[in-house]
Symmetry: C2
Subunit: 317 residues, 2 copies
């Protein structure tokens, strides 16, 4: 008995065809990929579950596709890697409309195309009642050159691309306005999420970043990861943290949301050098510096300090 999802695999295969530079093995048991000579492979895997990472009543399929893509390739960006390919596993409930799947797939393949990443394979199955996506993303980096989390040194500056809190603010808005769907353009980092691949690549090539991570869990948590892996502390200057402006009124998000809101997919990095105001067309802001010890503090304009604890990032249900 042919399974109903066979048709999705066939459609994925057709989509893969024109996009698959450097990838063979379509129609085989495995995809075959060739890496650039002298490079290492970067791999990251992310589950995106309906009700945990997205909601079908809040997020159009195009947004879900962009957010899955950003989530995966933001990890490649954070290592200074170049995108290579991705693999998509999707479990879909039987009642899901074909048009939803088509919109999701079309958007995912188009987004990937913008960044030079190829859909190289995947798997599909039927789920009992919710959409479930697992994306494995592959990138490459010259051997030994990946930017790790463990390279921050006391005296390094602490920098962030773009601005923070925009994605968490969108979720706040969606929670508070149950009937209204905002214009995606008024919360771009949430609804039109994109990974900072060009900036990550430029930072690595120019040797600017001593340690790097993407802001998927929120600044306070992601900075704690860098400090833990690098065995250092940090000082964050509250006034300097770039806060997203969101909604029709372009209101600045609160410091709290900028510090703890997750899923902005910006790059947080440290550098022993003075980093210019923009990298690959993306604004870069110095928000503090790396210090000895293992404590992260937030300093306000008057110079008063308080401990900055990892604020975490609560997914929504």
């Amino acid at each position: 008995v042919p399974l109903p999802e066979t048709s999705l695999i066939d459609r994925i295969r057709r989509m893969v065809g024109p996009n698959s530079t450097g990838i063979a093995g379509i129609g085989d048991d495995c995809a075959i990929l060739r890496l650039p000579p002298g490079s290492e492979l970067l791999v990251s895997t992310d589950l995106s579950l309906e009700g945990v990472h997205f909601r079908r009543d809040w997020h159009p399929p195009e947004t879900i596709a962009r957010r899955c893509f950003a989530r995966g390739f933001s990890d490649i960006a954070a290592m200074g890697g170049a995108p290579l390919a991705f693999f998509l596993s999707v479990a879909l409930p039987p009642e899901l409309k074909q048009s939803w799947v088509d919109r999701f797939m079309r958007s995912l393949v188009a987004t990937a195309g913008e960044y030079g990443a190829s859909l190289a394979g995947g798997d599909t199955a039927q789920s009992p009642d919710s959409v479930l996506i697992d994306m494995t993303v592959l990138g490459s980096v010259p051997a030994g050159k990946a930017v790790r989390r463990n390279g921050a040194r006391p005296g390094d500056g602490l920098f962030v691309t773009g601005d923070l809190g925009g994605s968490a603010a969108a979720i706040q808005f969606l929670r508070e306005n149950r009937r209204k769907r905002p214009d995606p353009g008024t919360f771009p980092r949430h609804f039109l999420a994109s990974p900072r691949l060009a900036a990550g690549l430029a930072l690595r090539k120019r040797g600017l970043a001593s340690a790097m991570i993407d802001t998927s869990d929120g600044l306070s948590t992601d900075l704690a990861h860098i400090c833990e892996e690098s065995k250092v502390g940090a000082e964050v200057w509250a006034e300097a943290v770039p806060r997203a402006r969101v909604g029709k009124a372009m209101r600045e998000v609160s410091l709290e949301v900028a510090l703890n809101g997750g899923e902005d997919y910006e790059l947080l990095f440290t550098s022993p050098r003075r980093v210019a105001g923009a990298i690959a067309g993306v604004r870069v802001t110095q928000i503090g510096r790396i210090v000895r010890g293992r404590v992260v503090v937030l300093k306000d304009a008057e110079g008063k300090s308080r401990k900055l604890r990892p604020g975490g990032w609560e997914h929504f249900r």
Copy 2:
């Protein structure tokens, strides 16, 4: 708020530690992998869903782990690749016992260790009500040497490792005996599934296989894939098909089950050469030959032929 599954990621990390030869980036955004020089990367992704690919009341966690592992790495075996690493995404329902998760993880890591594959990363999330596993497996193969499905030529012999139908017979048994759980050793290809990695590697190294696939969907379907990709037909000799002997009584499965039962994870391959009776310690049987045209026929002992249609493989619910 720390998510409950954080502890699983931590446990995965601790498990990854000692096993991760050639893998860096644990604790970073991506795993960093180095491929053997001059090699290409093989990648395959498989979803395993509770109720579709396994049942918790039928399959102990150790069996689910072995079957996930076999499912993924059988694809590496079918390309003649060597195992490299795997990535595990799991969504678990909140009521699942910690002991179940521990048994599953311990068995998966142990099985991987037997084959020299490292758990290199993964992701975890909470699912509403069922266990959901996505495994991405990576292997390597010397550049240009992967055994594809498209290399079968008229005149090649058609061969299979081990025997067929044993896994489907286990499901038949489980369906018919709702209260009884069989001794795993009496249905080894189902409960103790393992990929034919050594045989696949040996066939590739010795240049014996012109085309290869693993029998995940059943002989009739998997042979159709080879014929389609190679643009050839085939003749299968009914008498020669090696049928599994299963259960306490070691009863031979029916020809029907051997032809159409899936998930045996044997290797089906074609060769222009006479292949000896065993490869890497696994029995190899010639079950037919590749012919011109695009038709697959089944020939019985009297020389009568009938069309062999892809029988498909119906997952159980």
